[in-house]
């Protein structure tokens, strides 16, 4: 019993980061209807930046979040301004191929810059744990979960309470309407993409303390984000959040019930089910 409880807790902790990643992806899709195939690769660049800051300047990844989030924000905004704007009205397939190209570029420039060896940030507290009853909590993962939650909350408040956030939501709901009331759509899109990317950059920093990564981790992370967003509900921020936790838990339980290296199969099977029977996702509304 404790084993399953432990698995659920671990899953939830990891799920927090998945939620953050998925929030970014969902925001981008919700506002621009663009599927960011380069999501995971942007995250990996965030991870490399975090790693570099740690190894050369000794900056703790939880502190370098600000830097990585901003850096990846800029990257995302740049990609949006330079490339995505041109294909906003193109068929979906074209958008996917474009972002796939960006993903290939990001993954392989990382490969050229950093080499193929796995990297990992070894903080002093990397192995610390604490106990709550019979359940052991991994310190880095718990910290990650806390920060991810805080960021998700911050994003939510931003979108709900600030003018800029409202503009973004308006543009997501009704692009033409937003244009009609004078919204600078280009600015909104760039901002949204940037924030989405920033989320994933922050997520990268948050994962480095416990996830070894290589340039090719990007594609796997992209898939994980897609899984979460589809399962939770495309375009629904709450869905992304809940989906992240759900996927985290199902992966964790999968690792316990099956072989650890097969844990992703649980998520993929879940994905297939959702695609077939409820393609709008658990919390998604109409497309």
């Amino acid at each position: 019993m404790t084993l399953y409880l432990q698995a659920i807790v671990n899953g939830l902790l990891l799920g927090g980061v998945y939620s953050l990643m998925a929030l970014g992806l969902s925001l981008i899709f919700g506002v621009m209807r663009v599927i960011n195939f380069a999501h995971g690769d942007m995250m990996v660049w965030g991870m490399y930046l975090s790693f570099w800051l740690f190894t050369t300047l000794g900056v703790d990844p939880y502190l370098s979040i600000l830097v990585t989030a901003t850096a990846v924000f800029v990257l995302g905004a740049g990609v949006q301004r330079g490339l995505v704007t041109r294909i906003l009205d193109a068929p979906h397939e074209m958008q996917i191929l474009l972002m796939l190209g960006v993903a290939l570029i990001l993954e392989n420039t990382a490969l050229m810059a950093f080499g193929p060896d796995p990297r990992r940030v070894n903080t002093s507290y990397a192995l610390s744990t604490f106990w709550l009853g019979p359940i052991v909590f991994d310190l880095p993962r718990t910290l990650t979960f806390g920060v991810a939650l805080a960021l998700a909350l911050a994003l939510y408040l931003f979108l709900q309470r600030t003018d800029l956030g409202r503009m973004i939501r308006a543009a997501a709901d009704n692009r033409t309407g937003a244009l009609l009331v004078g919204t600078d759509i280009l600015k909104v899109f760039t901002l949204a993409f940037g924030i989405g990317a920033g989320c994933v950059g922050a997520a990268g920093s948050l994962m480095t303390p416990f996830l070894p990564f290589t340039p090719s981790t990007g594609l796997a992370l992209t898939l994980a984000s897609f899984n979460v967003v589809i399962i939770g509900g495309m375009g629904s921020l709450l869905g992304a959040f809940v989906g992240g936790l759900l996927v985290g838990v199902s992966e964790s339980l999968g690792a316990v019930l099956l072989v650890p290296s097969l844990k992703e199969i649980v998520t993929f099977v879940l994905l297939v089910f959702i695609l077939l029977f409820r393609p709008q996702g658990l919390l998604g509304g109409s497309r």
Binding site: L97, G101, L104, L111
Partner: protein, 320 residues
Amino acid sequence: MMRRIGPGLLVGAILVVLPFWIPSNWQNLLISTFYYAYLGQAWNLLGGYAGQLSLGHAAFFGVGSYTAAVLAIHLGLSPWIGMFAGAVLAVLLSQGIGYLGFRFGLRGFYFILLTVAAAEICRLVALHLPILGGYTGLFIQFRPDPWRFQFKGKIPYYFVSLGFLAAASAIVWLVSRSKMGAYLVAIREDEDASEGLGVDTLRYKMLAYALSAALTALGGTFYAYYQFYLQPNTVLSLNHSVDIMIRPIVGGSGTILGPILGSFLLELMGEFSRTMFAASTAGLSVAMYGVLLVVVVLFLPRGVYPTLAGWMRRKSGAAR
């Protein structure tokens, strides 16, 4: 008639004579080009003509290569026969995925994701099946014997890969001229309108998927007996699916010359980056593929070949 066949015959003659005159690394290059062009043609049937983008063709490739290899290793079956067993299994897999996808109305991004999920599931399963060698992979002993699909020297491989490419191109050409071809293209352009005009869209998409999967699987066997090593993370990976589809997309999906041109282009680019920037090129050529993909999507959305053909048509029109 001669005007149309003439250039083709000339190219054919050159290709037949060529391998005897070029160094080994050029032979390698051409084999690789033909082989990827072949896979591109197979993908093209589903992705270009029928308009159903698949990012999971590595699954069929894997099924083909592993089936032929396992049957050869454990039953001593010649890969020339085993590859058809692989093709049959690939067809079954494609019908399974296709039924799930098409019957439930998955289109565009959702269908792409389904294909990715299917391929990933295959990869994860393969990593855990001992008979497939699991994580260590499957080594194929090199014993040159044409019956075992293994040849001494590169030249036989050259002709086999060229033969595969010619056959696939012929098949795609025949399909494109047939009722099936017209229907596939209609489905691509507007699936609902096609339904209304009597096209059984489910049936034709499934057919295209089956043919595409079968051909891809056969190509997998060639790979197995050219590289002599199969590993799920190479053979069944998303990266590999991208490799398969990028050539027809760049060259021009929905055309016969597209995958061939795309394959030549990418191979040349890869070779260029390898020779110019020897040292840290792990990744440069693929990064350039990414750039090429971006450029094509932004400026040449129909692919290099259709755009070029359009230019030439306009030029000759203006000159008249």
